[in-house]
């Protein structure tokens, strides 16, 4: 009997389903997203996939052993501000924490150009109104000592007030609860007694890290969307069960893993879609044995970049969700408005600009014929001959080249440039922006681009990847054809990961028993929690990390540490590893060693490795790609600045082993790959295209 | 041409209140010398202000003579003449 692994990505416009059978063959299902009842869109997309497999949906689901769902429900609830009515109980005197936002909330998440416009900037509105924030008398200090005991009567009164206002959920957030959680637990107990039907959440559970602004934001968001997400997942799971699905339904989590839905962290589902792409990259990186990868995803609206180092996606420190800083470990994805639909325009000083606004997918570029009126990057790509107007998205959309040309010509008139010159300028500017972001992300991470392979996916990644890849000096540029379901593919192969953290401020030299004891406790907590979720100790792999900093410096860096009972020398070794790591990231002389080292956080990853979908590895055949040759087309080559007839290939007819000499264009149903002159494209055993300089 | 939240210079080069239409003076003059002004000590207002006996400056409030909209609250030394803060060229 066939065994299927399914990954589902509910996007804004479409719901994508990726079904992988036991041989590794991928079947795609697609259906419009149904905003009112998202599970309908999922079932429709599954139906679509089942049809392609020529089986019933029930048969499909009965034979599915792993099902992972990524969704934008949480994100949408934040954007549309229709989460549940939430109240907060907090330490008296700090009711304004999520309003003060450390002042930085005023610029968090904004593009640098927007930040310059100081006269108009405002902060994002928190999701809990001030009148639903109740401060109670209690206080714990940085050592976890109770300075002021919890006033239970005030907690009761606060709950009653919140109930009378009709709140459906309460977030409990006290200062220093990460050092001593008893007050948060006591308060939660009181709330459950007074209001047993209320959804209650504690900040030290959601984000057990120091820094209260991020932590309070985390519990605010998790509480605000929690009940909705839990409800939705339940509904979907019930639908799946009705159709014969008997296994765990998993959901994407933004730190780069998946979780059974009933144990998920709601806040972890936000922005988890792009994470699917990173997971897919991680899986491919392992297959290709490339431990260090920069991933670039060019969609309709944005250009997303992330870094995988030693097979692990880099996570952000104090990352924001939209404009709210949180303390959740999140795969760090940097984005700029440089997608296929990004609009080209002329500013007041008569300069050509590209972005940051986008026409998205709807109305989309002018050539889509869906009502777009402003020329976009895709229009320029089309006019320059890179895109095939008759074969876009596998021929589903016929691109209107004439409309693009006219619009670009009109734009060019404003700045005294001809049509092709203007299209070239748009192409150049777009690539320059992408290269600049790429450079910034890579150098900020402390790594050298030359040590990394570049992955390009998304509708527009393979189209521009050769250019920005060459610009940054990447030696190996990989292009992936299954871009449309890349994210769903990634989700279907994600490990189950839960990250357990404990804030513990310890100054080196440290008592090794304390270190051992803390890890022991944390690992026990991890295993207990995973057991509750349904995974026995033998299924779980534990990995340890520590976050460390130097005394006078704010930079906290997280390093993996060995899993064992430590002796003093082991701790010394950890310190040395940290100093080396810090040096490699921040430079020689950056470590303020004299100020001493401080441990900030103990971290344990509890990982249940995924049932990996098989990825077919094919035999390498001949180099000659003529079987896939489609013809020739005039393409404007940036290297020589003129139109040159260039070979075009059909991706589906390429065979592993084929070698394509640039310049060339390779057309696939979901993307177009562009190879420059002086580059070579080799189809590898997984049918990815690998581009390098040469020839 | 607008010169203030409430004031503009009209076609006859007169400073005029945008709210009530009152013509205040010629644009070549300091409007503050042609409108009622009142002395207010900061401590008369809510909030933490210098106590009256400590205060080294006070507020002069300037009103539109037509609608008595508050046009400006000028921090000033007592008895100082109105600051000519807007002197457009036209």
């Amino acid at each position: 009997m066939a065994k299927y692994i399914i990954g589902v990505d509910t996007g804004g416009t479409y719901t994508d389903v990726c079904v992988i059978d036991e041989k590794g063959h991928i079947t795609i299902g697609k259906a419009p997203t149904t905003p009112k009842k998202l599970e309908d869109g999922v079932m429709d997309a599954l139906e679509n996939a089942a049809k392609a497999l020529q089986i019933s949906r029930k048969t499909l689901l009965s034979n599915t052993i792993s099902f992972c769902q990524g969704t934008t429900i949480g994100t949408n609830a934040l954007i549309n501000r229709n989460g549940v009515k939430t109240g907060m109980i907090t330490t008296k005197g700090f009711e304004d924490t999520i309003y003060i936002q450390r002042a930085i909330g005023r610029v968090e998440g904004l593009h640098p150009d927007e930040v310059r416009h100081q006269a108009v900037l405002t902060k994002p509105e928190p999701f809990i109104p001030k009148r639903l924030i109740k401060g109670v008398t209690e206080r714990i200090d940085c050592f976890g000592k109770v300075v002021v005991p919890l006033n239970r009567e005030e907690v009761k009164a606060a709950v009653k007030e919140l109930l009378s206002e009709g709140v459906q959920a309460i977030a409990v957030a006290f200062i220093w609860s990460v050092e001593n959680s008893t007050h948060e637990e006591e308060a939660t107990k009181i709330i459950s007694e007074v209001a047993p039907n209320i959804f209650v959440n504690m900040s030290h559970k959601v984000a057990p890290l120091i820094r209260e602004y991020g932590r309070f934001n985390s519990v605010m968001i998790d509480t605000y969307i929690g009940p909705i997400m839990i409800q939705w997942y339940k509904s979907l799971y019930e639908r799946l069960r009705e159709e014969g699905f008997t296994h765990e339904m998993l959901t994407a989590q933004v730190w780069g893993g998946v979780m059974p839905y009933h144990a998920m962290m709601p806040i972890g589902t936000i922005n988890s879609g792009p994470v699917g792409g990173v997971l897919a990259s991680k899986r491919m990186a392992e297959l290709l044995e490339k431990p260090n990868v920069i991933t670039t995803d060019v969609g309709g609206t944005s250009f997303d970049v992330s870094v995988i180092a030693e097979y692990e996606p880099i996570r952000g420190r104090e990352p924001p969700i939209m404009r709210y800083r949180v303390n959740i470990p999140m795969v760090h994805i940097s984005a700029i408005g440089a997608g296929g639909g990004t609009i080209a325009w002329v500013d007041e000083t008569n300069h050509l600009r590209v972005g940051p606004l986008s026409a998205g997918a709807l109305p989309g570029p002018i050539c889509y014929g869906r009502g777009g009126t402003q020329p976009s990057v895709t229009d320029a790509d089309l006019v320059l001959g890179i895109l095939n107007p008759d074969y876009y998205l596998g021929g589903r959309i016929k691109l209107n080249k004439e409309a693009s040309s006219k619009a670009i010509e009109g734009l060019g008139k404003k700045i005294g440039l001809g049509m092709i010159e203007t299209a070239k300028a748009i192409f150049d500017l777009q690539n320059a922006h992408m290269a600049d972001l790429l450079r910034l992300v890579v150098t900020r991470s402390g790594y050298d681009p030359r040590d990394f392979a570049l992955f390009c996916y998304g509708g527009g990644g393979p189209t521009h990847g050769a250019v920005y890849g060459r610009e940054l000096g990447f030696k190996e540029i990989y292009m992936f054809e299954n871009s449309a379901v890349w994210s769903a593919f990634g989700l279907s192969s994600g490990d189950i990961i839960r990250i357990f953290q404990r804030h513990r401020y310890l100054r080196i030299p440290v008592d090794v028993n304390v270190v051992n004891g803390t890890f022991r406790e944390l690992e026990k907590e991890a295993l207990d929690e995973m057991k509750k979720i349904g995974f026995g100790k033998e299924e779980i792999v534990l990995r340890r990390e520590m976050s460390i900093k130097f005394g006078r410096q704010v930079n906290v860096e997280t390093i993996p540490v060995p899993s064992k009972t430590y002796i003093e020398q082991d701790v010394d070794q950890i310190c040395n590893t940290f100093v080396e790591h810090y040096r490699s990231l921040y430079g020689e002389g950056a470590a303020f060693v004299e100020a001493g080292m401080e441990i900030m956080t103990f971290i344990v990853h509890a990982v249940k490795p995924a049932i990996l979908p098989a990825i077919p590895k094919m035999k390498l055949e001949e180099e000659d790609p003529s079987y896939a040759l489609k013809g020739k087309r005039n393409v404007f080559l940036p290297e020589v600045e003129k139109f040159v007839p260039v070979n075009t290939y059909e991706f589906g007819r390429l065979k592993p082993g084929n070698l394509i000499v640039g310049p060339a264009v390779i057309e696939a149903p979901t993307t177009t790959m562009f190879i420059l002159s002086g580059q070579l494209g080799r189809v590898n055993e997984y049918r990815n295209l690998k581009i390098s300089e040469g020839g | 041409m607008r010169i203030h939240y409430y004031l503009e210079v009209d076609k006859e080069n007169k400073i005029k209140c945008l709210k009530c239409g009152r013509v205040i003076c010629s644009a070549s003059e300091n409007y503050k010398k042609h409108v009622p002004r009142a002395e207010v000590w900061p401590s008369e207002l809510p909030g933490q202000h210098p106590a009256k006996e400590d205060a080294l400056v006070l507020y002069y409030e300037y009103y539109c003579p037509g609608c008595f909209t508050l046009l400006d609250v000028e921090i000033s030394e007592r008895g100082a003449p109105p600051l000519w803060d807007i002197q457009p060229k036209f």
Partner: protein, 665 residues
């Protein structure tokens, strides 16, 4: 700008400066213009490199001031030291660094000469920077025997061997009290560290490792950027790189002049007051600005400003330029790339000996807030008034931002971890911004920023409590700090802290606002106040920690008063400036900040908006009633419309009664 003509060898002569030749000034201004697309790409590429340099400085330093507060500047300059491209956290630091390169060229071209691989150090306020805390490090860029430019990096280092720890001693009475001042010495010579030069600083500061760390950070940034620029030159050719630097400045100048031209000509005036110099009592001083715009030129004349203060509340000329730049770059020319071109249409008149242009050796270490903030305020005010004259810019009109602050900012002593340290409470950066008008932002942003720091950021309470031996009783958006107006200013933060787990700690105060209102509002709004938790004070509550252990936690000034009555203790109201003094675990240190300026008559603010303000603890019921004329019930549920109408009519009637037309000259 400069008193003496620079370069002294004239505009048409170049010369050999040791490591190569500096072309004549006229020569570097000649360049082949890049086409618009290439200019955009190269200009952006250069900016990315400068930004990368700044990121490197911040990453290597990792100090709270630099890495979190963002106090790091990185810039590329042309051969004669004009800023071509810059990345900064504090707008204050930008234009003032040009003087350093000019003096290097004038004084050192011959001996010792300027060579590739040299890195110079400067922190002399007379020549540039702002104050002695601001450390500038710069290196020349040579290409094939020609000086093509400079790279510079500046950070604020909060310990300079001054007469008090922390870098900004309120007790300074001379520039000689304000720490070491390095005069363009080479810290690195042709790539090699000059240890003797370094000792000049290290042996003059209380915290040599802190200086070394920031120095390494600046050098790291310079090295990274220098390498990238070399790559850029290899890729595009040196001619284009020199061209993009000049074109960057010319482009900004063009945009600045065009914007000025689009505004009406005229003269605008503004005044800002301060109330303290050295004590024992108050001293009223003022910054007076007369701004005249004619065509595409804006003249800023500070004639009429007070004479230099005896204490460090003064600006040297570069401090004044920096403070002007804060307002110009954030309010007037926000859409223009920051570089020297932006200020070319500006002319500054600052009478020598006034507190906007004090003479050499006058103390000036407080310059950035005092009178820097005042200078920024008056410039912001005249910009707002100018912008009214073109409807296109009404969305950008802002009332002044940074207003009074009265904080127990500086502490020193033994931390809860047992080591001796010192520091500054950075919470004061969470202040209200100025209000806009209908077409723009409307209300100011609460606890949003200081105008000088475009990405203002304050530490978490937990971080401060981890590092400093203090416990916060509260940190909140303080009621009645926002300036009341048709559009209100932003509210500011107030805090109360208690020494905690320390055997010995001191606190020092810095502020204004006890005797004179500082903050201006615009067009009928009232000035902002310091709120309702003040005045700033050290409140001694008897056996405070024991009482807290029993469940007592005072949360506002009324609680303190009750506590003092029932259990004992006392208030000690502080002066705006108070030198470091010992505080104990029973002392509460109260710090206040006034909010941002507002715009328009409060009676024009919609009553429903005022209701929301009161519900959000931005305004008190009293403020709503007395200033806005809005009557709200005690449960804060609704506006009493009838009573409001009546009250507002009463206020108007009172205005009619009190108002008298000026009858002087």
């Amino acid at each position: 700008m400069a008193e003496n003509k620079f370069p002294s060898w004239g505009d048409n002569a170049g010369r050999d400066i040791g490591g190569g030749r500096i072309p004549s000034l006229n020569e570097i201004k000649q360049y082949e213009k890049l086409d618009p697309v290439e200019f955009d790409i190269l200009s952006h590429r250069l900016y990315s490199i400068i930004n990368e340099g700044r990121q490197a400085v911040m990453r290597v330093s990792g100090s709270p001031v630099v890495a979190e507060g963002g106090e790091a500047l990185f810039a590329a300059y042309d051969a004669y030291g004009s800023t071509a491209s810059l990345a900064c956290g504090l707008l204050l630091h930008v234009i003032g660094t040009e003087g350093f390169m000019r003096e290097i060229l004038e004084l050192q071209w011959d001996a010792p000469g300027v060579f590739d691989g040299d890195i110079f150090m400067y922190n002399e306020p007379l020549i540039g920077g702002i104050h002695a805390c601001d450390q500038w490090t710069g290196t020349p860029l040579f290409h094939e025997g020609e000086l093509i430019g400079w790279l510079g990096s500046l950070t604020h280092t909060a310990e300079t061997g001054a007469i008090e720890p922390g870098g900004m001693p309120p007790s300074s009475r001379s520039l000689l009290h304000e720490g070491y001042r390095v005069q363009g010495i080479k810290i690195v010579e042709k790539g090699k560290l000059n240890k003797a030069a370094l000792n000049g600083v290290l042996r003059s500061t209380r915290d040599p490792s802190y200086y070394t760390l920031d120095l390494r950070a600046r050098i790291a940034g310079l090295n990274v950027a220098k390498q990238r620029i070399k790559q850029l030159i290899a890729r595009y050719g040196v001619k284009k790189i020199k061209a993009v630097m000049q074109q960057d400045m010319d482009h900004s100048e063009e945009l600045a002049r065009a914007k000025l031209k689009s505004l009406s000509d005229g003269t605008w005036r503004a005044v800002n007051y301060g109330d303290w110099d050295i004590g024992p009592g108050p001293k009223l001083w003022k910054v007076m600005l007369t701004a005249t715009k004619e065509g595409d030129q804006l003249t800023l004349d500070f004639t009429g400003s007070s004479e230099a203060n005896e204490g460090p509340v003064n600006c040297m000329i570069w401090g004044t330029w920096g403070s002007i730049f804060v307002a110009i770059a954030s309010q007037l020319f926000w859409e223009i790339p920051g570089n020297a071109g932006m200020v070319r249409p500006l002319k500054l008149i600052a009478p020598e000996g006034s507190l906007t242009n004090v003479r050499f050796l006058t103390p000036c270490v407080m310059c950035p807030p005092l009178p820097g903030r005042h200078i920024s305020n008056v410039v912001t005010t005249i910009i707002a008034k100018m912008l009214y004259t073109n409807e296109k810019y009404w969305g950008d009109i802002n009332a002044p931002w940074c207003t009074m602050s009265w904080m127990g900012s500086f502490w020193g002593g033994t931390t809860q971890h047992g080591y001796v340290s010192a520091g500054m409470f950075g919470d004061g950066w969470a202040r209200g911004t100025g209000a806009g008008i209908d077409e723009g932002r409307g209300d100011g942003c609460d606890t949003g920023a200081l105008q000088m720091t475009i990405e203002s950021c304050i530490p978490d309470v937990e971080m401060n409590e981890l590092m400093y031996p203090f416990l916060y009783l509260w940190r909140r958006e303080e009621v009645d700090t926002a300036a009341p107006g048709r559009w209100r200013g932003g509210a500011s933060v107030s805090l109360a802290v208690v020494p905690h787990n320390t055997p010995s700690v001191t606190i020092a105060f810095r502020g204004t606002g006890k005797y004179a209102e500082e903050g201006q509002s615009l067009d009928g709004a009232y000035p902002p106040s310091l709120g309702r938790s003040g005045p700033a004070a050290i409140v001694r509550l008897k056996n405070l920690k024991e009482e807290m252990a029993k469940g007592v936690k005072p949360n506002n000034i009324e609680d303190f008063k009750d506590y003092i009555i029932t259990k004992g203790g006392r208030f000690r109201y502080v002066n705006p400036f108070e030198a470091s003094q010992r505080v104990t675990e029973n002392d509460v240190i109260l710090s206040l900040n006034a909010g941002g300026g507002g715009t328009g008559d409060p009676l024009d603010r919609e009553p429903d908006r005022v209701l929301v303000d009161v519900q959000r603890h931005i305004f008190s019921l009293e403020m709503a009633k007395e200033v806005f004329g809005v009557i709200i019930d005690a449960q804060l549920e609704a506006v009493d419309e009838k009573a409001t109408k009546l009250k507002r009519e009463n206020i108007i009637a009172r205005r009619k009664e009190k108002g008298k037309v000026w009858d002087g000259d």
